[in-house]
């Protein structure tokens, strides 16, 4: 590559073409532009006029310059200019690229890939063959042409683990298989791992080694720990540096189920330190939702820590000594406990032996004195497995003799007989308050309110170990809450009742906080080897090197002990594991991981990863030339007065380029909406049968006219509605005549219809066959109606009852004839509890408008009028027929009134009762 003035050229000889530019200039100068033919009637006046000069109009200099620039751009563009040409002395011979490719480099992975790309293109220019060795997934390197590697670069991804010893061994074995010498470029992630010196020695033996590593810090987060009601988060950086701040995001599902950031916290690395800590105090409801913590701005598996069971809602079994006081809920000994625990815990219902197999986190025994031997043994076993037994005292416990002589296994202390009562009417002392919590108490730090008093309590026998077990005491020093460890679990005793009979503690906020502290302690089950012994854990989701969770697919199960050992590698990928109902999060970093910076011997040159990329600009120059030539075309046209044509072309081009916004409502839709909403419009469903549609339209027109003349409802010309195409929401009433051959509406149309019915629309189904059939499946129309209405959301129906509001919405009607006075008409059934009040003519039916009215009386034919307002079809015979038509019209009016006013008329039945109450 030849470099001229900072720009490299791949084909510098093409630049000689620039010498032709002056010649081109002269040629372009000499050639006059082509003449234009113009019609001009006044040419007679021009005849005989001679031009002053024999030279034609020259092309203007700026147009010439434009053309010269275009030509120059083409020539330079073809010469292959390259910006920032890399001037590294490239070596010769094969080149090995060694990648750590662990999570630690995942955040900068794209820049690493960019640099590899640069190296590959350099190697390609130098004709070197290249091989790539990933230490986290070692394969035997194969030296290939550099270009062959470039296409495979996107397939290289970092892994969520560091190179393990086995992988180092594999890599060494792979290196041994290579023949001859080669140079090595090592892309390091800057975090130390065992065995990198062995690899270094192996590659140094073959040739020069250059290390590329970024100066950006590697930050990772340790698994979250839960202690004393707060989440302790610790972040670690590999290289101690100046003070730095990072932000940790707690992510989880919000109540709607969407992943979002629930909380964020800032952490600060003090200068020179590698650890940063922050305590997150979160409401337990929020805490239970957190699924992962991650460091903002980092995109690596190490910057993510998953949470598991320890944050899920705790399962609590509440068992009271006496539950026979049914109905007196405020007096239930469990009432306050239920109120406190409800927001954060799930309750396990049942007796003691029934809940134990469910393995709850906490079992609460409120004033339970006597346990059977079997219950006792099972409970002890459960506590020893890590359960928290929370006991409350009470009259029964005080009266029993449990824990008198010897310490009960399930009581933290021995109890004195009878307990004591202070502050009552028959006692000397005053009610006692609480003493501040001692420092070793889990309640330490909680504020003790003054108004918490204890009047009665069970007393602990003084014992040598009593002092250790008291975690809360009264102001006179007597124990209030005692605790003892039992196996992996613990037993906690409140020396008062769980209700407010003995103390006001359950009424105070302190009670909530105390329970919270205790329950948190119960949730933080540590993973013990004994607990995981013999279990098999199945991966559900695994993390990739970038910290993204994906489905685990077919990965095999993992032994519990192996999981605990936590040697992350290709066989044990970080992620979420499940065994039975338990879930376990395996994170990249464990609590005791320490990140160390990778150290290189001083003879290995280390380069930063930040490089300027070579940038070929030939394409840009050629585009510029094209642009200039386009400008030249337009300018030439403008000069010669032919721009009119060019304008048209440009407009056409612009029209093609600027495709109009297709989301805009089409004019037809707008027009339809305008027509349907400027006034009230009655609508009928188009069936596809022209005759039926015409009659339906005429019927709607007749009904509209009737309404116009008789009521204040003034509809305009009705509209035929295509269910597939048109919006239905504009119409209060849809008349749907049934024909046996009409098409079934599409799924979308049904969705629209259902939305229409839900939002208060009404459909009047008319089978139009009351002369030959009764309502049902007996006629083809009836069968079709059943098909059509099947997917509709129609409530249960009943024939119009005599007190339905349709019978009195405007006119008083008994029956609803159309052209036929046949079958009954069906509407939504009245609720079952509608009762007729004594002395009232109607039931109270203040519900919605019936969404459907179904009948077969062919109303549209009775309503139908022509343009002149003359009845279109005959109804009945003579005067009786006209009467029937009149009744049909009245039914129509009642129907529209019912749709528009709802059950307003039904409300009127209350008027006598209201008047009566007002003393009128």
């Amino acid at each position: 590559m030849t470099v001229l003035a900072g720009i490299g050229f791949t084909a510098p000889w093409v630049l000689l073409g620039l010498l032709t530019l002056p010649i081109l200039w002269l040629i372009l100068r000499a050639v006059p532009p082509a003449p234009i033919r113009r019609l001009f009637p006044a040419v007679t006046l021009l005849l005989g006029l001679k031009d002053d000069e024999s030279v034609s109009d020259r092309t203007p200099w700026w147009l010439m310059l434009l053309r010269m620039l275009a030509a120059a751009a083409i020539i330079i563009g073809l010469a292959g200019p390259v910006l920032n040409p890399s001037r590294d002395e490239t070596g010769t011979g094969p080149l090995l690229l060694v990648l750590d490719a662990s999570w630690a480099g995942a955040t900068r992975w794209s820049s690493t890939l960019d640099q590899i790309d640069v190296q590959l293109s350099e190697a390609g220019r130098a004709g070197r063959t290249v091989a790539i060795l990933r230490l986290t997934e070692p394969e035997t390197p194969v030296f290939q042409a550099a270009e062959a590697w470039r296409g495979r670069l996107p397939g290289l991804t970092p892994t969520p683990w560091q190179p393990t010893e086995t992988q180092i061994d594999q890599a060494l074995a792979a290196l041994d298989q290579l023949d001859g010498g080669f140079d090595t470029h090592w892309f390091s992630d800057r975090v130390a791992y065992g065995g990198h010196d062995r690899i270094l020695a192996a590659v140094q033996a073959r040739g020069a080694v250059t290390v590329y590593q970024s100066k950006a810090p590697v930050v990772a987060i340790l698994p979250a720990a839960y202690q004393d009601g707060v989440i302790q988060l610790t972040a670690q950086r590999a290289v101690p540096g100046p003070a730095d701040r990072i932000t940790v995001l707690a992510q989880g599902r919000d109540p709607a189920g969407a992943m979002r950031v629930l909380q964020s916290a800032e952490m600060e690395f003090p200068g020179g330190e590698t650890l940063a800590q922050v305590n997150l105090a979160l409401p337990s409801e929020l805490r239970a939702r957190i699924t992962r913590f991650e460091i903002q701005g980092q995109r690596s598996a190490g910057a993510v820590t998953l949470t598991d069971d320890s944050l899920r809602r705790r399962e609590v079994a509440l068992i009271a000594g006496a539950l026979n006081r049914e109905g007196l809920e405020l007096l239930s000994p469990l009432h306050y406990l239920t109120q406190v625990l409800k927001p954060t815990a799930d309750f396990v219902e049942g007796g003691l032996l029934e809940v134990l197999p469910a393995n709850p986190d906490v079992i609460v025994l409120a004033d339970v004195a006597k346990l059977s031997d079997g219950e006792q043994a099972a409970l002890v076993e459960w506590v020893e497995q890590g359960g928290l037994l929370l006991r409350f005292a009470g009259p029964r416990m005080a009266a029993s003799d449990m824990g008198r002589d010897a310490e009960d296994t399930l009581l933290p202390v021995r109890l004195r007989s009878g307990g004591r009562s202070v502050g009552g009417a028959m006692s000397w002392g005053e009610a006692k308050g609480l003493a501040p919590f001692p420092e070793n108490s889990p309640f330490y730090g909680l504020q003790v309110p003054d108004d918490v008093t204890v009047t009665t309590q069970v007393m602990a026998q003084p014992d040598p170990n009593l002092a250790d077990r008291v975690i809360a005491s009264l102001s006179d020093g007597t124990p209030l809450v005692t605790r003892k460890a039992l196996g992996l679990g613990q037993v906690v005793l409140f020396h008062v009742t769980a209700d407010a009979e003995w103390s006001s503690l359950p009424l105070s906020g302190l009670f909530v906080e105390m329970l919270d502290r205790l329950a948190v302690a119960s949730a933080a089950k540590s993973r013990q080897e004994a607990q995981l012994q013999g279990t098999t854990w199945e991966p559900i989701q695994v993390m990739d090197g970038f910290g993204t969770l994906s489905d685990a697919g077919n990965l095999g199960g993992v032994e519990g002990t192996e999981l605990l050992a936590g040697a992350i590698g290709p066989d044990l990928q970080p992620g979420l594991y499940e065994s039975g109902k338990q879930k376990l999060a395996l994170n990249v970093l464990s609590e005791d991981t320490v990140l160390n910076p990778l150290t290189w011997p001083s003879d290995v040159p280390i380069k930063g990863q930040e490089v300027t990329n070579e940038k070929p600009i030939g394409g840009m120059l050629l585009s510029l030339a094209l642009l200039l030539l386009t400008v030249d075309v337009i300018a030439s046209l403008a000069l010669s007065g032919r721009l009119g044509l060019a304008k048209a072309a440009a407009v056409a081009l612009g029209a093609v380029l600027l495709v109009p916004d297709v989301q805009a409502q089409t004019p037809e839709e707008t027009e339809f909406a305008l027509n349907a909403t400027q006034e009230l419009v009655l609508a009928h469903v188009l069936t596809g049968n022209a005759q039926v549609d015409d009659v339906a339209r005429a019927g709607m027109r007749g009904l509209s006219q009737t309404l116009f003349y008789r009521t204040s409802v003034e509809p305009i010309e009705p509209i035929g509605v295509d269910l597939e195409r048109d919006e239905l929401a504009f119409f209060p009433l849809l008349y749907w005549p049934i024909t046996p051959d009409q098409p079934q509406p599409s799924v979308e149309a049904y969705a629209k219809l259902n939305a229409y019915l839900r939002s208060g629309g009404m459909i009047l189904f008319d089978t139009r066959d009351a002369d030959v059939a009764r309502f049902g499946a007996a006629s083809p129309n009836g069968r079709k109606l059943q098909q059509l209405a099947g997917p509709l959301n129609i409530p249960s129906l009943e024939p119009v009852p005599r007190d339905h509001v349709l019978t009195r919405a405007f006119y008083l009607l008994q029956d609803f004839p159309g052209r036929y006075a046949g079958t009954e008409v069906w509407v939504e059934a009245a609720p079952l509890d509608a009762e007729q009040i004594e002395g009232m003519p109607f039931r109270n039916l203040n519900d919605n408008v019936t969404p459907v009215v179904i009948g077969g009386n062919d109303w549209a034919s009775a309503w139908a009028v022509d343009r002149n307002g003359q009845a279109l079809l005959p109804v009945g015979r003579g005067y009786a027929g006209e009467r029937q038509r009149e009744l049909a019209n009245r039914f129509g009016v009642n129907l529209v009134m019912h749709v528009l006013t709802g059950n307003y008329k039904s409300d009127q039945v209350h008027v006598p009762a209201l008047l009566d109450r007002l003393g009128q």
Binding site: P35, I36, F40, L45, D51, S56
Partner: protein
């Protein structure tokens, strides 16, 4: 078969062109007619003009008894002078008139016919007789004549620069010549002198396109007349502009001189301007002439 079809097609197209021209002309004439009637002097006619006191020499039967009975003085009822004039029109049908320098502008021929027909309508309404110069359509009165005029003007000629028709001019009639007058000037001169010889006076209306007034052309250009009979090539159209404008002014001067010599009036109208102004001028020019 084919020829008949095309003939019919063409004739239909021609027929369809007539009503719009007529309608537009009627419309245009309607804007001028308002409030401007008659000869505005007493004379022979049907319409009432004024009452004047009876003078010596008035015959007794001229006294208007209805008016005179109101007082002691005797009045004579005068009628407005209404007399029919013959106005002969000539509108240039040559191909050179089929020109518009811009799509938004009407062609000169279109504007000329519109003005001619509007004038004819106005004149017919005023009771005058209207016709074409030459023998094809002698002056007559009535609306039918307007339609005949419209028909006569709906045909285009292919030849450039048709000379004014000056045959069969009725002595002492009025005449209106509408053209761009870019053709040979001696033909115009001949027509006008001949008209003046017969005592015919009238109006020349020169209709020009704005492009012909401004000559906005540049660069190497071949100018061609619409009929294709004349062409002129130039290498630098921009340089010709001043000399062209000079020649145009000379042409106008010559026309003015000619009019002055013959007692005609010369008007100039550009197709870019409103037709109404031109019609107004035309009507006034004719009106003033009759007084």
């Amino acid at each position: 078969m084919n020829a008949a079809l095309t003939l019919r097609e063409r004739s239909e197209a021609e027929a369809s062109r007539l009503p719009p021209l007529l309608a537009r002309a009627e419309h245009l004439a309607g804007t001028v007619l308002l409030g401007d009637h008659g000869r505005r002097r007493s004379g022979l006619g049907d319409d009432f003009w004024q009452y004047r006191p009876a003078q010596i020499g008035d015959s007794r039967r001229m006294i208007d008894h209805r008016r005179s009975a109101r007082g002691d003085q005797q009045f004579v009822r005068e009628r407005e002078w209404q007399i029919a004039q013959s106005v002969m029109l000539w509108v240039d049908q040559g191909a050179s008139m089929q020109f518009a320098s811009d799509k938004s502008l009407p062609t000169k021929a279109d504007r000329a016919r519109l003005l001619g027909l509007s004038t004819a309508i106005l004149l017919v309404r005023g009771g005058e007789r209207v016709g074409l110069t030459g023998t094809t359509l002698p002056p007559r009165r009535g609306n039918a004549q307007v339609i005949r005029l419209a028909q006569a003007w709906s045909e285009d000629s292919d030849t450039d620069y048709t000379p004014p028709e000056h045959r069969a001019m009725i002595p002492h009639a009025r005449a209106v010549f509408i053209s761009d007058f870019l053709g040979p000037l001696d033909e115009v001169e001949l027509a006008l002198t001949k008209a003046a010889d017969r005592g015919v006076r009238g109006v020349l209306l020169q209709v020009l396109d704005p492009g012909e007034e401004t000559f906005p052309y540049r660069g190497r250009t071949i100018f061609e007349s619409v009929g294709g009979s004349v062409r002129h090539e130039t290498l630098k159209a921009g340089d010709l502009r001043d000399r062209y404008l000079e020649r145009l002014a000379k042409r106008k001067d010559a026309l003015t001189q000619l009019c002055r010599a013959t007692g005609w009036q010369l008007g100039l109208h550009h197709t870019g301007d409103s037709a109404q102004a031109a019609l107004l001028w035309l009507y006034r020019a004719l009106d003033g002439g009759t007084r």
